[in-house]
Amino acid sequence: MSAEAITTDAVIIGGGPCGLFAVFELGLLDIQCHVIDILDRPGGQCAELYPEKPIYDIPGLPVVTGQELTDKLLEQISPFNPTFHYNQMVTELTKRGDNDFVVKTDSDVEFHAKVVIIAAGGGSFQPKKPPMPGIDSFEGTSVFYSVKKMEDFRGKDILIVGGGDSALDWTLNLQPLANSLTLLHRRPDFRAAPDSVNKMRELADKGAIDFKIGQVTALHGDGGVLTGVTAKGKEGEFDISCNTLLPFFGLTMKLGPVADWGINLNENLIPVDTEKFETSIPGVFAIGDINHYPGKLKLILSGFHEAALMSQQAFRYINPGERLTFQYTTSSSSLQKKLGVV
């Protein structure tokens, strides 16, 4: 049985820049938020795709990296104490009544919220699956895209493919458990932490692991049981015998379960109006890259604007009949009190 449901004003699906700024705009209106993200940290694409790359079109910040922007947004929203739920994907969104939604995640966490804000960008980040014929039939039995429990890999003949931190970290961590371990990468250089690369090379020099340069071209085995792969290197093809394959080719964005929630979609985007940024389900909003309306630009600044307008309508749903007075943070002592600056 799952733990007791979390009751809150608003659930924000997606912890990218727009989801984070929504916490701010909703917070100014005294709306408490829980933020759910599939990644293990906030920032969305800013953190996952381009943490170190400069962004030049955030108003007031001539240049800021994806990570810096994330950090600044976290600082900005800290007075509102949002609760973050990482490493989970929202699987279900159902409407129980007016301003009464149930949100469930793949970690069996349940939320009851008055409004839901979908700020899911390009969807959820999921591991890239190499487009090799027949790979599906090995998934879950011999092919894994992540390591949930290390013990499951004890005594296996493991092949790890990739050259980033995941590939290197798991090479180092699984080597003591594995019966044999081969690391396959397309080139001698890595984009992983130099310390991990050095440690991996030491293991290879000792003969504790095998490091090979090449790319997988075919999988062999039957009935979900992998027996080996064929790889292609500079010198031609060679075989690697293994019963477990861990490909680490980074993450890709997939729309994911959003399509199952009964919201009208248009080519994987959620059509919204431009006054409230509300979806076809009243009380469910969509902001940022995932929405669409005439003239939409997929810019972070558009998402910020959408968050502000969405919050006005969210307030009306959460506080029916109450008057909403528009205020400026520069002059309103009540807003300044919420921000903790007076």
């Binding site: 487009p131 990468h185 080139r187 984009r191 980074g250």
Partner: protein
């Protein structure tokens, strides 16, 4: 101005007029050439605009940068002719450039 030829995996060819200064990826997206996904929008952060440059053109398009080389780790079936099309800038010298699109960006 340069004409860029995109050859899909099944052999279908698209001849595109590209403006100098834009990237080969942008030329593909603007003209809705299938098979170039460009998930990250040209930040050299995803490897979903992977193309194979025809041998005659390899020297003219220049070398991969270190960042591009890193990103190519995320592509499938990387060959000596592999490039990320967001990192090739169109110029008069590239008039007639021909690139092949892989079966799948992944």
């Amino acid at each position: 101005m340069a004409k860029i030829n995109f050859i899909e995996f099944d052999g279908k060819t698209h001849e595109i007029d590209a403006t100098n200064g834009m990237t080969v990826m942008e030329a593909a997206i603007k003209n809705m050439v299938p098979g170039i996904d460009a998930d990250c929008g040209g930040a050299c952060a995803c490897a979903t605009c992977h193309v194979y440059v025809e041998p005659d053109w390899l020297e003219k398009v220049g070398e991969r940068s270190e960042m591009e080389e890193d990103m190519l780790d995320f592509a499938f079936d990387v060959q000596d002719s592999s490039r990320l099309s967001c990192q090739i800038r169109v110029s008069d010298e590239l008039d007639g450039l021909t690139v092949k699109i892989p079966e799948k960006q992944f």
